[in-house]
Each structure stands twice: as C-alpha cells, then as structure tokens.
C-alpha cells in the first residue's frame, strides 16, 4: 500500500479567546494520496482554512494544535520547530492563496520572486533558475513569459497574477499544494482557466492538491475526492461524483440541495415576458454614464482636456410588474453603476429611467415618486446596516423619513410585523447589527427595504456574501415576499445559477454594453451572443461533475 502524501489524524485546533477556548477544528482525519486532488468544502466557520493552516504550520497565535497528528509522507510535521516548518513550506508544501495581489511582493519583479524561491530550495545557478522560472510561467499559461518575467505584479491582471502564484507554489517541486480559495477573488471566465492551470501543473509535476473552497462548482470540476466539513468536523468523505449525486449525511444532502445550478429546474415558473413592453412597470431607455478620469479637486477647476470613461453604454430594458429581471456581468461590466442610477445615487449622463410612468431623474415630483417606490438591498450585510443603530431604528428609518408612521407604538408595531415577515423574532429589535450572523443581517436589510412599502427593489448581489445554505434561505424569502407583495425585482449578480433560479428575464452586461437580453430559459438554453456562451461554458457548476 502506498504511503499517503498527507495524513491528518484526529486534528484539534483551539483558539483561546478571553477566558474561553474556541475549538476551530475538532477531530479531523483524512488522507491525501500521491497525485490526488482532494477538495475540502464547508461554509464559513467550518474550519477548512484552519486545517490548511495547521498543515503548513501557520496557525496564528494564540491558536494552537491541541492534539492529533499531521504526517507528510509518513513523517510527523505538526511537532516540528519553527525553523524546520519554515523549511517545509515552499520546498515540500506549496501554497496558493485567495488574493493574488497580497501573495506577491509588489516591490519585486515576478522573475526575482520566482528565482529566489527556486534557488532557496534547489541547487541551481542564477541563469538556470531563471530559465526554469520562464519554463514554469510558460507552463502556467503566461504568454511571452521570457519578456514578462521582468514585470512587476501590478502589471499583470488578477488571473495572470494567480497563474504566477501557482507557478511560484510549484517551483520547488513540492509533494503537496494547498490551495485556499484559489479562484474566489476572480471572475467566472478567469476562474475556469485558473482551475485548469492548477490541475494541469499539479499533475505534470506529480503534486497532490488540497483544494479548500466554499464553492461546490469549483470542486465538482477539479477534485477527485471530497471532504465535507461542518463546525470543525468532517461530515462526509467520498468521491466527488458519489457525494454530489448520492450524498448520505443529512448535512451534505441539505448542502447539495441548496446549491443553485444553471441547469433548468423542474417547476421553474418562466413566463416569457415580451422583451420591450411599453406598458412595463420599470423602463430603462438608452442609459449612459460617463466618468471623468483622474482629476484632483483643485485641478478640476483648471481648464484642460478631460478623459472620459464610459461605464454604462446605451443600456435599455424593461421589467413588467411583479417580475424579476436578472442583470449578469463580471466585475467592471457596469452592473453596479446601472443599479446606482436606477435607485438615484448616480445621475445618468443620458437616457431615461421610468418607474410606474414617472421619470425618476426629472426632479421634484419624480424624486418623490422614486423615494416612495424604489428600494435597494445591498451586497454586504455588514456595511449596509449602521453598526451604531439598533435594529428597530434601522428598520424604522424609511417609514419615519417618508412619514408612513410617526408615533412610537405604531412604528414598533410595524417593525415587529416586518421582522415577522423576514422570519426574525420581533424581540431582536433592541439589538445591534453585530449581534447577528450574515444571513440574519441580510434579512434585517430586507425588512428595512420593505419598510417604506416599495413596489420595486433593486438587489445588488444580495447573496454573494453569504454561505450557500443561507443563500438558499434568503432567495426563498425574496421569492415569497415577491408573491406576497407583488414586488418587482432587479436582480444584479455575477452568479448565473442564482439569476437562473430567480429571474423571468435576463440581460447580460459586458464592458457597459448589454450584449444580450431575453427570457431566462432562452438565454441559458440557446445563448446568441459569443460572450454569453463563453460565460455559460466557463461557470463551474455542480451539474458539470465528471
């Protein structure tokens, strides 16, 4: 029997906090065989990253490994001294982190960092190391590696930078690569390429991979075996196909079930809406927004050439009452700028937005109508609630501002009602936002949005900061509220699966241009634009499990 590259037995990691001890990893055991790609999945707080940190000996103090053992090729490594652990890192265990910007030193060229790493671990001369670095970069898919090797990290895009990081991790020929959320900071189209590069390089160099991620889709396309973690414990292990198709443990069943997929689901209500209905509730016509580039507040006063950047270019769509329009696009596609113009935060350079027939940028009356009818749900539930306000006051603000309810008992009564609607106990109204989890906060944000009794809600990435199981709950809640109050949604997301599940019609934004627009099923099943097709191919999805 072959010796596993990595063998973890009954690992326990404790974090003393004030007078108590928090157990981040609680008796975790699994093996990784040579050349194998093992995915470790779990929601936030599951202890998956902590397990990775324990293997490379980088647990931040005051955290510590309390018991258990970690063996690399049969030798124990958890009880080594700092210096010996440091020698393992890079040489025998390579690392790829989430943010490629912080894992490269911005002051050194890419080549210098690679050559340094190679020479630190392998007995090569400067020029040999440089040649090896160029080979590695080429292998990682960096075009013209011989020229680009002397560039600085900021001269590479996010995806290219992550390729460099992978080359760096593999440079010294380690037996194991630990990749912690290697693609979470990247756009979907880049994500797919990086997964391929990671897989290819590791199999070329015979390195086993421990892939830590919250994204089942990534695992489905990458890993051979899967370790599902929850609350610091291993819930289930098995091959990827087995777990995704036939999960055994109740937790895994629920987890798999709550992951939205870009495949059509049974019972999906897709009433095809006419693409451009003049009677539609929300109409966006020829929307354009330009931004001035790089001018300080004083230089702005001077005459001179102004460079313009067109963030949104001639976007038109309409949403019938009570339906959801999904707007998808990668970062920088202008989707958030669209949202800001529709809710009244950013003035359009040209174009028209009407809600229920009122031009919301027409001034006076239009402004009033917008305040009454339009609300927004934000991406980050940590930043969208004022941390110094109590939940009651946060939810009451819209009704107080618009004069819907003024006296104290009436306000409290309405707040309690709204909390019930979003399935929170009304007794929480005296608490502060920091006492809630991310999903609960997003419910509070939804209650606030509903508080002004709006008819149209713009949801800007409403679930992308949440774990999948919580995401499913929040999406369910949004659908229920939509049918209860007849709400109209504009759903903005980079997550195609979420958009497919929620929307009746979809628009695809690319570099500020709406490249495609139509009923959801038509777009997902027979995309017309090249960009849409590429996007749909690239997205990691659990339906694509090998």
């Amino acid at each position: 029997m072959t010796v596993p590259v990595l063998s973890i037995k009954d690992l326990v990691v404790d974090f003393p906090f004030h007078d108590e001890v928090f157990r981040a990893v609680n008796g975790v055991s699994f093996d990784i065989m040579p050349g194998e790609v093992v995915g470790v999945v779990g929601e936030s707080g599951a202890g998956k990253s902590m397990t990775g940190s324990a293997v490379i000996g980088l647990i931040e103090r005051p955290g510590r490994i309390s018991s258990g053992e970690i063996r690399l090729k049969g030798e124990r490594i958890d009880n080594l001294g700092e210096a010996e652990k440091a020698r393992l890192r890079g040489k025998r265990i390579g690392m790829v982190f989430q943010d490629p910007l912080t894992s490269l030193n911005p002051l050194y060229t890419v080549g210098r960092q690679l050559v340094e790493t190679i020479r630190a671990h392998l007995p090569l001369s400067e020029s040999e190391a440089r040649q090896k670095a160029i080979d590695l970069l080429t292998e990682a898919g960096i075009p013209k590696a011989a020229e680009r090797i002397d560039s600085f990290p900021h001269q590479f895009s996010g995806g290219m930078r992550q390729r460099v990081v992978i080359a760096l991790a593999i440079a010294a020929g380690p037996e194991l690569i630990i990749a912690d959320e290697p693609t979470s900071a990247l756009d979907v189209s880049v994500q797919a390429q990086i997964i391929k590069v990671l897989k290819k390089l590791c199999s070329n160099h015979g390195a086993a991979v421990m892939l830590i991620t919250h994204d089942m889709g990534v695992i489905a396309q990458t890993a051979d075996r899967l370790v599902v973690m929850h609350h610091g414990k291993v819930v289930e292990t098995g091959t990827v196909g087995d777990i995704i198709r036939r999960p055994r443990e109740p937790y895994t069943v629920k987890l798999i079930d709550s992951i939205p997929t870009i495949e059509r689901r049974e019972g999906h209500i897709a009433t095809a809406a006419p693409a451009n209905d003049d009677g539609a509730y929300v109409q966006v016509k020829n929307l354009v927004r330009d931004f001035e580039l790089g001018r300080g507040s004083f230089t702005k006063l001077l005459p001179g050439k102004v460079e313009m950047f067109r963030a949104v270019s001639d976007v038109s769509f309409s949403i019938p009452k009570g339906q959801t329009f999904g707007l998808v696009g990668e970062s920088g596609s202008g989707k958030s700028t669209c949202a800001k113009m529709i809710v009244g935060l950013v003035r359009p350079s040209s174009g028209q937005i009407t809600v229920d027939g009122h031009d919301i940028w027409a001034g006076g009356a239009g402004h009033q109508e917008r305040r009454k009818r339009v609300q927004m749900i934000f991406q980050d539930p940590y930043a969208s609630l004022n941390p110094r306000w109590r939940v009651r006051d946060i939810i009451a603000e819209p009704m107080r501002t618009l004069g819907i309810a003024r006296n104290r008992t009436e306000v409290e009564h309405r707040v309690a009602e709204l909390l019930n609607k979003v399935r929170l106990d009304p007794s929480v109204m005296r608490k502060f936002p920091h006492e809630f989890s991310g999903g609960q906060r997003q419910r509070i944000a939804i209650a606030r949005a509903l508080s002004s009794q709006p008819e149209f809600i713009v949801c800007d990435e409403p679930t992308s900061a949440l774990d999948v199981s919580v995401q499913a709950q929040v999406l369910d809640l949004m659908s229920e509220l939509q049918s209860e109050f007849g709400l109209t949604y504009l759903l903005i997301s980079h997550n195609l699966a979420v958009v497919r599940q929620m929307s009746t019609a979809v628009g695809v934004l690319h570099n500020g241009v709406l490249v495609e627009r139509g009923p959801t099923d038509a777009i997902f099943d027979s995309p017309q634009a090249d960009y849409t097709r590429m996007l749909l191919d690239a997205v990691p999805d659990i339906s694509k499990v090998a």
Partner: protein, 320 residues
C-alpha cells in the same frame, strides 16, 4: 455561523444574551483595560487628580487666595516642617506664606478648566469641519484641508500666542484680566482643531462609501441628518482618542503660555503660573515651590496621555 437544519419557515430565536453587566465586563474594551496595569494606575492617578481639582474648595487645607488667612511670616516654610504660625504645610509654603499643596489643587482647577474647554472647542470645530469636508468633498474639502495643513506646520504654542496678541489688541484694557482665561481657551482651541478635522475627514470618507449611507441617501434623508445621525456616531472612536491625547496637550500648552506670562493672571494661578513663580526661587534653595507643581503637571499630563494611548490601542482592532 449558521446551521443548515434551521428551516426558513420558522422565526429564528433571538440569540441568548448573558446579563448586561457580564456582557460589559467581558467586552473587548473592558478586557483590554483589565489586562493593562499601566492603564489602571494611570486612570487611578488621573481620577484622583481630577477629584482633587474639582473639590479643591472643600478638600484643600487652606484657601491660598484669601489674604486674611495668609501669614507672611510663614513664607518659605520647607515641606513637612515647623512653621512660624504653627500651621502644618505638607509641601511647604511660597514667598507669601501660601500653602503649596493648596495652590496646586486650585491651580489644577484652572489648568483642567482651560484644558477641557479648549479641547471641546477644538473638537467641535474640527469634527464639524471634518465631517462636512469628508462628506461633501470637492472644493470645500480641498480648501479646509489646505488651511489645516498650513496651520499644522506651525507649533500650536505659536498660534496660541498669535491669537492672544490679537485679543489683547481688541479687548479694552480694563476687561483684559477677566477675559484672559476665555482668550486662553480660544487660543488653545484654535491651535488644535486641525488634528480633529483631519482624522474625522478621513474616517468620514470611509464611512460615506458604506452602504448604510447609500441606503439613507436612496430614501432621500437630509444630508445634515445623514452626517449627524449616521456618520458621526461611527467616527466618534478616533475623536475620543485624539480628544484624550489633545486634553493632555492642551494642559501642557496652557502651562507653557502661563509660564511665558501670557496666560491666566497671577490672581488665579494655574499650574504653569505656579511653576513660573517657583523657578524664581529655585536657585536660592526653595526647591519645593517649583518641584511640587511641576510633578503634578507631569503626573496629570502623563496619566491622561497614557489613557489616550490605551484607548487608541483598545479601539484599534489591528493591534488587538
């Protein structure tokens, strides 16, 4: 963080909260206080000094400003030794027979009064300007920040002296003595607003990007209320820190000005005035007249400063 088994059809129960006192005792800020002996000592010293100053009329053994109780023959009595009149003077007496211990207590009153009011003035000016500059941006921001930069390039004492000189020219001579303490407060306050303005501006620029401000803007909340009710509560942390450290600085600035003779009138001596009086006698051997007020000033400024340092660290999550 969240449990999967929770079904979305049931209201989530409120998280169990321990008693209010226990929550307070376990909160991060109290925790870091309990773990810092220096801070505990500093806060006790500062509290004692402040109490001594506030309750000086009731606590001081003598009233050093009532000529009827003074005996010139008690002058220059060394600390803890027999005096002409038989009265006991813990820290000795000055040239006019005033009890040094009592004058220090009364002097601290003046120092703290000036320091606290000047810091409050600087805080109100700086926070107000900083909020507006950070939120509105543009030309208002550029102009007010440039003014702050220019002012920060001069020593605060120099600016206070300038304000003082102008005031002396404007206020009629017969009112100058009564107005002196208010001019002093104005001078020190004007010299210190820039720190607050800069910090608050930066913090405001961070906060205004956050979505809770956007949510209020979408509702059409008046910008004044957004600043007052949304942004201000979220920038008070750094303001408190600069305020505490600024209080120590203001006390020292007041002492400096009084030492230079431009501060409070000698009939109402502050710690700085006492030190100025004391240094006349240092070389003739009456060291106590200088030393005790000087030690008090150091203790006061140091303890307040240490509290400010601790507050800064305790409120900074990066150092935790």
């Amino acid at each position: 963080m969240t449990d999967l088994p929770q079904t979305s059809t049931q209201p989530e129960p409120a998280a169990k909260s321990p008693s209010r006192w226990k929550a307070f005792w376990r909160s991060d800020i109290v925790w870091s206080y309990r773990r810092s002996p220096v801070t505990i000592v500093a806060s006790i010293v500062a509290l004692l000094l402040v109490l001594m100053a506030v309750f000086a009329p009731w606590l001081a053994p003598y009233n050093p400003f009532n000529p009827a109780t003074l005996n010139l023959m008690d002058g220059f009595t060394p600390p803890n030794s027999a005096s002409y009149s038989g009265n006991y003077f813990l820290m000795g007496t000055d040239n006019q027979g005033r009890d040094v211990f009592s004058t220090i207590m009364y002097g601290m009153r003046v120092s703290l009064f000036v320091g606290v009011l000047a810091t409050l003035l600087a805080m109100i000016m700086g926070v107000g300007l900083g909020l507006v500059a950070g939120y509105v941006g543009g030309v208002i921001d550029a102009v007010s920040l440039r003014v702050a930069d220019v002012q920060l390039s001069f020593p605060a004492v120099l600016i206070a002296l300038l304000v003082f000189g102008v005031a002396r020219g404007v206020i009629p001579p017969n009112q100058q003595e009564g107005a002196a303490i208010w001019v002093l407060i104005l001078a020190i306050g004007l010299a210190n607003w820039a720190q607050f303005a800069r910090t608050v501006r930066g913090a405001t620029m961070v906060e205004r990007q956050k979505d809770y401000v956007a949510a209020a803007r979408i509702l059409g909340v008046n910008p004044f209320f957004i600043l007052l009710r949304h942004v201000l509560p979220n920038v008070v942390g750094p303001v408190l820190v600069i305020g505490t450290i600024g209080l120590a600085l203001a006390i020292i600035e007041e002492a400096t000005l009084s030492y230079l003779g431009v501060g409070v009138p000698p009939t109402q001596p502050s710690l700085g005035t006492l030190i100025r009086i004391g240094q006349q006698f240092l070389f003739s051997g009456e060291w106590w007249i200088l030393l005790f007020p000087a030690i008090t000033l150091v203790l006061l400024a140091l303890s307040v400063n240490l509290l400010g340092d601790w507050l800064r660290d305790a409120l900074n999550p990066k150092l935790r």
